[in-house]
Amino acid sequence: MSFDLEIDHRIGDRPIRLRAQAGAGLTALFGPSGAGKTSILNMVAGIVTPDWGRITVAGETLFDSSAAINLPAAQRQAGYVFQDGRLFPHMRVRANLLYGRHGDAPLSFDAIIDFLGIGHLLDRWPATLSGGEAQRVAIGRALLSGPRFLLLDEPLSSLDPARREEISTVIERMKRDLAMPILYVSHDRAEVERLADHIIPL
């Protein structure tokens, strides 16, 4: 199993309840805004601690409330691409890419730069990037951190149609070339049908 999730969590008076298993490839968490999709990604990444449950990714248990296991976010090796990019504004693109650099990265720095077509952006500040450029840098930063799995939070939602196509292609290539479990959040049916191998409705 790529993802084996059993989560009960309450944010304010909104309960989030999830029981799901998914095999290799890209798994889409699909549902309307406000269904708690991003919260689930945050729990898998270790940024939010679920009230109760168990989170296993690619055979490793990251969280288990009954066994008191809760791996810190820094040790989970999640390649998290946030919806808003979250590039560090005080570092140039190159420093952003290298921030989490890890020997386990699936591709070398040069290969990832090439793969994402961001070689010409290395000396730029994040504030000067377009939405599509920032998203590609964010993907590159996540890949260079040597992730065991990828978490993609609506990576297309803030982009115009041309950029959507561009990033969709990048995601399809990652799926094909990296053979890494991917958990993908979206509220767009067409997007999910195009990219997902498994769908978890919320």
Binding site: A74, Q75, Y80, H90
Partner: protein, 232 residues
């Protein structure tokens, strides 16, 4: 304008007192700012109020409280004397202490604001990239708080350079020890026929403060890289 040896020694003493005050207060103020911005603990309101006390209480009262606490017979005064061999009475160290206490609220406020302004989600992003808390602090939180830290330094320095009431109450007016610029201006004003001396000292004081402001703007610009930062 060429300074006389006596004026030089006043300027040097003022700089010494202010730099030591702000330098020693910097880590304390940052720790307080971090605590107030990031933690919840019982008595937080009290700590917040104590930090701001020197801002709202008449400086003379602050000076008097310092006298009670850090005077020769004050509990903290005795502690410092015995543990570190540092005494404050009628000494420049006392002037620095008074300056530091008076600068504290401004420094803490500026730093706290910038710490509260840090996007916590960037710290989370750093965590997911494998950064441990110490590295997150050093590479994300601290640089993002830097404009506020610089602003705190400038405000604190300006407040120290101008400090009068608490200092003269606490350590009096001792030439060469506690006679900083404002106190020198005040004592010159007490003497007939010292108008020129007063004017000269006042001009020096204005130039010094302006220089600090310009220097900090330049620093902020460098620290901000490609982005524009303003200290004030």
């Amino acid at each position: 304008m060429i300074l006389s040896p006596e004026e030089w020694s006043i300027v040097a003493l003022s700089l010494q007192v202010s730099l030591v005050a702000v330098g020693l207060m910097l880590p304390v103020a940052f720790a307080l700012a971090w605590l107030l911005a990031r933690s919840r603990f019982p008595g937080k309101l009290l700590v917040d109020a104590l930090v701001h006390l020197p801002l709202v209480v008449p400086p003379v009262v602050t000076g008097w409280l310092l006298l009670l606490l850090f005077g020769a017979n004050g509990p903290l005064g005795r502690l410092f004397e015995q543990a570190l061999g540092v005494s404050f009475m009628f000494r420049w160290t006392g002037a620095a202490l008074a300056s530091a206490i008076m600068a504290m609220p401004l420094m803490v406020r500026a730093m706290r604001l910038s710490i509260e302004g840090i996007d916590r989600r960037l710290e989370q992003a750093a965590q997911t990239l494998g950064a441990k808390p110490r590295r997150v602090f050093l590479t994300i939180s601290l640089p993002l708080a830097l404009p506020g830290i610089l602003a705190g330094l400038v405000l604190g320095f300006a407040r120290s350079i101008g400090e009068f009431g608490a200092t003269i109450t606490f350590v009096s007016d001792v030439p060469g020890e506690t006679r900083t610029l404002p106190i020198a201006i005040y004592s010159a004003l007490q003497m007939p026929g010292a108008e020129t001396a007063v004017t000269r000292l006042a001009v020096i004081s204005i130039l010094l403060s302006l220089a600090a402001l310009v220097a900090s703007e330049a620093l902020a610009r460098r620290a901000g890289g490609g982005r524009t930062n303003h200290v004030l």
